[in-house]
């Protein structure tokens, strides 16, 4: 029962916190994460959303309005971080849609979750790259993007998934 659980307030608070921690991590570890020419981009907010979709499928007791909150998180991301409205407000709900599609076929656990998260991060980064190329925010070649951005970003975010999967599951169970 989503309506009655603590998750109703806990989920948005966690989402917003993850969104801000993304920026804080990028700022504190900027020397290591944005060492030219490579860039590691932290996507903890995506991790929180994807974990939401995974645990929702896992328990199959209730449904959460994930896509709506994903759009809200995307809107804040666009306005506060990038200043270009209309990119992540669509990408984050697409990620939720994709994840729900995948968990319908694959029974989610830690390992299959890792694979799902791999695909999600690739989609987030690829769509973000295409959008920013379209409005001339960057002039990076596709191959450069794969090597310098997508590779390190995947490595960082999968490591974060491994580290944070069980803590986040504990938080979700506590909030339920």
């Amino acid at each position: 029962m989503y309506r009655l659980s603590k998750l109703r307030f806990g989920f948005p608070v966690g989402l917003f916190l993850m969104l801000l921690i993304d920026g804080a991590i990028s700022q504190v570890f900027s020397v290591h994460m944005f060492r030219a020419p490579t860039a590691m981009v932290s996507h903890l907010v995506v991790l929180w959303l994807v974990c939401g979709a995974i645990f929702e499928a896992d328990s199959s007791a209730f449904e959460m309005p994930l896509a709506r909150w994903a759009a809200v998180a995307g809107a804040i991301f666009d306005l506060y971080y990038t200043g270009i409205f209309g990119i992540y407000i669509f990408i984050f709900p697409v990620v939720i849609y994709l994840t729900r599609l995948m968990v319908a076929y694959i029974r989610p656990n830690f390992l299959s979750g890792l694979l799902i998260y791999f695909i999600d991060i690739t989609v987030v980064e690829a769509l973000g790259y295409v959008a920013s190329r379209a409005i001339h925010l960057n002039d990076m070649a596709g191959s450069t993007f794969l090597v310098n951005t997508l590779g390190p970003t995947l490595a960082f975010n999968l490591a974060m998934f491994v580290l944070l999967y069980f803590p986040i599951r504990w938080v979700y169970n506590w909030l339920r």
Partner: protein, 283 residues
């Protein structure tokens, strides 16, 4: 029925893509043309910025203590070197003060109120950084209420690091010079060569593989040496004259071999920013 739902999904996807591109185009246009974002966006950014400050306090405190621990290790050597520099610096500072005073008097003589070199500094601290690989942006904790206007130059340590890209009431976004996007406002810079001639040009981009800024549109064929200092020229816009950018690392022909292209080593580490200074000019 199956066909119907597929069509509906396709329509939704196409509408979303169109709306997305429309929104992006509109916001890029607003970003380029208007001096401030729409009120709703400003208001939202101010609120998020306020909450973010609370989140940033523990993380920045943590990183501060870690970096102070690592800095402790080479403090002794640094201290020795700095002592030498300080004694030289005192002399320079006194001379600088005398010159500034003289300059002020001379300006008074010819009744010149403000020149291109005049600016006041507003110190701000960095709240957060955009988690994106192509948008090199930081959010600072001063906005239009502190007198910051769009396109003002921002410095950190000894050199120029970027310009103000978006101004809200209590925070603003700074686009670093490492950002390579098409719409970025370029700084007009100049070099005074060893022979005394002045070379004007424009900062044109950033080469991420070497970490160097490129400079184009160079006006003369004067000989430029490695190590010549590059400063802003104060031409065209709100940038004051004489902000230090970096040193010339290499001169080469540009992509078409028609003009000279310079590579500049930036004066500060552009990835490690905590406290920045915005140069506020009188308008």
């Amino acid at each position: 029925m199956q066909k119907f739902s597929f069509n509906r999904r396709l329509v939704i996807i196409i509408v979303c893509v169109i709306v997305s591109f429309a929104l992006m185009t509109v916001s890029v246009t607003i970003r380029n043309k208007k001096s401030t974002p729409p009120l709703v966006q400003q208001f939202g950014n101010d609120i998020v910025g306020f909450v973010d400050r609370v989140v940033a306090i523990p993380t920045n405190g943590l990183s501060g203590s870690v970096s102070s621990l690592s800095e402790l290790l080479n403090t002794y050597q640094e201290n020795q070197q700095l002592k030498k520099q300080v004694s030289e610096l005192a002399q320079t500072k006194v001379r600088d003060q005398t010159l500034a005073k003289e300059n002020k008097q001379l300006k008074k003589e010819i009744s010149l109120n403000s020149s291109l070199t005049d600016y006041s500094a507003v110190t701000a601290s960095v709240i957060t950084r955009t988690p994106s690989s192509w948008q090199n942006q930081v959010v600072i904790n001063k906005g239009s209420s502190a007198g910051i206007v769009k396109n003002m130059p921002v410095m950190s340590g000894s050199g120029l690091i970027g310009r103000v890209a978006e101004v809200n009431k209590t925070n603003s976004k700074v686009e670093l010079i490492t950002d390579n996007n098409d719409t970025a406002n370029r700084f007009a810079v100049q070099i005074t060569t060893k022979s005394g001639s002045t070379v004007n040009g424009v900062l044109s981009g950033y080469k991420s593989t070497t970490g160097q800024i490129t400079m184009n549109n160079i006006t003369t064929k004067a000989k430029i040496n490695k190590g010549d200092k590059v400063v802003t020229s104060g031409l065209g816009g709100v940038t004051p004259k004489g902000l230090y950018v970096g040193k010339v690392a290499k001169a080469s022909g540009d992509d078409y071999g028609l003009s000279t292209k310079l590579y500049i080593t930036p004066a500060t580490d552009l990835s490690d920013l905590n406290i920045v200074t915005v140069a506020v000019t009188k308008q």
